[in-house]
Amino acid sequence: MRYLPLTASDRAEMLAAVAADSIDALFSDVPEAARLSGPVDLPRAMGEIEVERLMSRMAAKNVAAGSVPFFIGGGVYRHHIPAAVDHLIQRGEFLTSYTPYQPEISQGTLQYLFEFQTQVALLTGMEVANASLYDGATACAEAVMMANRVTGRRRAVLSGGLHPHYREVCETYARFVGFEVSAEEPPGGEDPACVVDRGTSCVVVQYPDFFGEVRDYSELARICHDAGALLVVVVTEILSLGAVRPPGEMGADIFAAEGQSLGNALNFGGPHVGLFATRDRLVRQMPGRLVGQTVDAAGRRGWVLTLSTREQHIRRERATSNICTNSGLCALAFTIHLALLGEAGLTRLARLNHAAAVSLAGRLEQIPGISLLNRAFFNEFAVRLPRPAAKVVEVLVGKGVLAGVPVSRFYPKNDAVGDLLLVAATEMTTTEDMDRLEAGLREVLS
């Protein structure tokens, strides 16, 4: 077996050194009834050629996004990843190291996480960011639990414009962790004055929201703060912050987001990277790992994991969260991509995305029977179709176009949204792609 360096003679020699007459002797603590006498009923070892053939066969059955006109978003976005990103994250020193518990030999990981924290803080207009969480949905649930700890209250209000998976994850955590969530009906845009009261720990809104709408939450922030509640702003398309006002400027207290759009492939939904940021005064209530700057014994600048007294490996049952692993390598991909883009590249990439969506929305609006739901949007918007969106999408699959996400995929029981289709355009979308979608829709709806 190519991954196992011990030879048969090594094994014999080592068994003798440990005074065991067979390998079975080392498993003698296992109850006899539970010892398997031979391999389980699964295929035997395979070489690289066979494994590659089997897996490639499965991969070939899927329609890759890059092979068709592609307009799907809804929380995961197809963007170009510069070649240097994927090359650098595969350096073994990044790929095959563990959590930087030994800072003297982990400065590489610690420094890029410090850069990541700074990038996230700058991008969001928040004061402090952590070293990442699992994904946007779990970051959102962690944000609600943090708001509960900060305010000492137990009821969160979730906007109807919040991604339905994020809402569902919050509801799951609420049931078991022991707090309340009241979720508004889609498509959001609820009157903030009506949803906040003295028992509210936080209001969770999405920006741009699940339906692509870009809203100003400054007034909501004021209402929340007057009622002693926090404003949690969720972002699922982090690239939008290259174009729109950052949540920090609107008065957000906690920021939770999905960072996939920078540096990370679609990956069928994971692994991705949860972003989390807040205000300085709340940092000790923040979940997840944090990297801080310090000096070494020789007086040189260096970095360490810090404020660990919030964490499970120190506090055990009194920790702020049970999280241990974060999403280090995905955070690295994010950091490298954003380092390559810089100020000029990020804002230009955001403009390209917005321009593509503006162009596409303008075309689709002209099709008889289609109406645009949005007043303002970034790179994704919702259109109302004259028939169920899921059926239209299926017909377009037959024409080799992946047209978008039917909202009914997420809200199967809600008839009010059954004819809504989410359509995303990015820098990857070509004019020819738009031609194909427009022609397909005209044909299907005629």
């Binding site: 982990s106 779990t138 799951t172 078991f176 729109v244 999403s327 992946l402």
Partner: protein, 518 residues
């Protein structure tokens, strides 16, 4: 003693230890933050400017600068390459971090995870366009179910701790479904911190169980704590002392007798994969760390993946989504309807860590059922070899054979003035990542060593020689060397106290002279 780096000819000059002009030391290059390398106007990507268009951002356009630095591609590549060279990694050498299973990460896995048909597919694509993705997930589930002997597997948890959360939520949901409100979860004192943190997060009171003199759960103490208000026992097996819980079947029976569930932390599954099926140990629920036993890269602390194997009784409560075998093949269940009515709901966005599923399946297929069994055997043999060869130098915490990791404590350092921390830091100077230190908490100054099956005998022999030499140095009273260590690293020991007292968690630009004057 080590001799592979000894001089092969007479020294030409004496050691010179002088400060360099740059602060660099040969291949160790000092590297500033990207924010300090800003050259405005530079960009590492070439993108066209869009044709003129009318903004539809509703007046919410960003005003002012973000503050991100501009760098060209060569600057970025050089920056991250230099950073990478400041990291220890399993690719570079033995990484004996106990209970973390730092094994080789095959590059075939990386290649396959990047196939366009697996990486460039969207989780919300119409189901009809991704049958291969569901086939892969179902195949992975089949392998994991067969290896654990368990009837169901929940794949969406994002990491080990997330898997624990999933398991304890399933247990609580099952108890609530039978109208049973219980308040306590029993956790051995040797458990990972995530276990008590998880139980507490799910609203349970954590009740610790002490270890007995052999390093295993104290059966009498467990019996005494069991009662009809106990929801579950969370047991790691093999435990974090590297020992198999011999009485596990009796423990399971006692737990079940009071109507509680038996949760097993599968962090140490590498010791028994292919040789013992957890189902045969009468457990109800166990998470698996794909980034430990099944070789998906640790990536500097994630992403992980923590599928949870479930008994028949717990399976109906598993989180969504599910893939089920229907009359027309594989079907995706995303909502709480029909058979999924009891599901606890969603724990994560979309379908789980697909990229990790691909890697783990490639790893399992490469080994096959025979190779996986060999993995457990070699991992256990390697740990026992270290135990036997180091027993006279370090102080073994518990006698007898161990499983995949071996636990020592700091009695061997008594009266030397050297601590476990000093010893570990000195090991860094010898080119090794230290073992896990000060964990588990049940022995004093713990040193927990897990070599994994990745090491060959020659590698272990070199490590043993290094540890023996260090032990001799500690006993000879060379404490100054230990207290100063490490000295051959990019940084010496770092001041963690100041870092925590005055947290500096992001870069900020230096104030200009004018701002400073104001």
């Amino acid at each position: 003693m080590n001799d592979w780096s000894r001089a092969v000819s007479a020294r030409q000059s004496s050691d010179a230890s002088y400060e360099t002009f740059t602060g660099n030391r040969g291949l160790q290059i000092e590297e500033t933050l990207i924010f300090e390398q800003d050259s405005p106007g530079h960009c590492g990507v070439d993108l066209p400017e869009p044709a003129p268009f009318t903004s539809r951002l509703g007046g919410l356009e960003r005003q002012g600068k973000i503050g991100l630095p501009g760098l060209s591609e060569p600057q970025v590549v050089r920056h991250f390459t230099r950073l990478s060279q400041k990291n220890y990694a399993i690719d570079a050498g033995l990484y004996p971090l106990g209970s973390c299973t730092m094994k080789h990460n095959p590059r075939l896995n990386e290649k396959l995870a990047r196939l366009p048909g697996l990486a460039d597919i969207h989780p919300s694509q119409p189901v009809s366009t991704v049958p291969g993705a569901f086939e892969l997930i179902d195949t992975l589930a089949h392998w994991l179910k067969t290896l654990t002997g368990m009837p169901a597997i929940a794949l969406s948890p994002a990491a080990g701790a997330h898997g624990e959360l999933c398991g304890i939520m399933c247990i609580r949901a099952a108890l609530e479904a039978r109208g049973d409100r219980r308040v306590r979860v029993l956790v051995p004192e040797s458990a990972h911190g995530t276990n008590p943190a998880t139980a507490a997060a799910c609203g349970y009171t954590v009740d610790p169980i002490p270890a007995d003199a052999t390093g295993r759960v104290d059966g009498a103490a467990l019996e005494a704590k069991l009662g009809s208000d106990v929801a579950a026992l969370m047991l790691t097996n093999p435990n974090t002392c590297g020992l198999f819980e011999r009485e596990i079947l009796d423990i399971a029976e006692a737990v079940h007798r009071v109507g509680a569930f038996f949760y097993c932390d599968g962090a140490n599954f590498n010791a028994i994969v292919g040789r013992v099926r957890p189902a045969d140990l009468a457990i109800d629920c166990m998470h698996l760390n794909l980034h430990k036993t099944f070789s998906t890269p640790h990536g500097g602390g994630g992403p992980g993946s923590g599928p949870v194997a479930l008994s028949e009784a717990l399976a109906p409560f598993a989180p969504l989504p599910w893939i089920v075998h229907g009359p027309e093949g594989l079907e995706l269940v995303e909502h709480k309807t029909g058979a999924a009515e009891k599901s606890l709901g969603r724990l994560k966005g979309f379908h789980g860590q697909m990229g990790m599923f691909v890697r783990a399946l490639a790893y399992m297929m490469s080994h096959g059922s025979d190779g996986l069994r060999q993995v457990a055997e070699d991992a256990v043999l390697n740990a026992n070899y270290l135990r036997a060869r180091l027993a006279d130098d370090l102080s073994l915490s518990f006698p007898g054979p161990c499983m995949h990791e071996v636990l020592f404590d700091d009695r061997f350092l008594k009266d030397t003035g050297v601590t476990t921390l000093d010893f570990a830091k000195a090991l860094i100077d010898d080119g090794y990542h230290p073992m896990t230190m000060y964990f588990p908490l049940i022995v004093h100054g713990a040193l927990l060593i897990e070599p994994t099956e990745t090491e060959g005998k020659a590698s272990l022999d070199r490590f043993i020689a290094a540890v023996k030499a260090l032990t001799a140095a500690a006993r000879s009273g060379d404490t100054a060397r230990f207290r100063a260590a490490p000295v051959h690293t990019p940084r010496r020991r770092l001041d963690e106290t100041t870092a925590a007292r005055k947290p500096l968690l992001r870069w900020r630009p230096e104030p200009t002279r004018r701002q400073a004057a104001e």
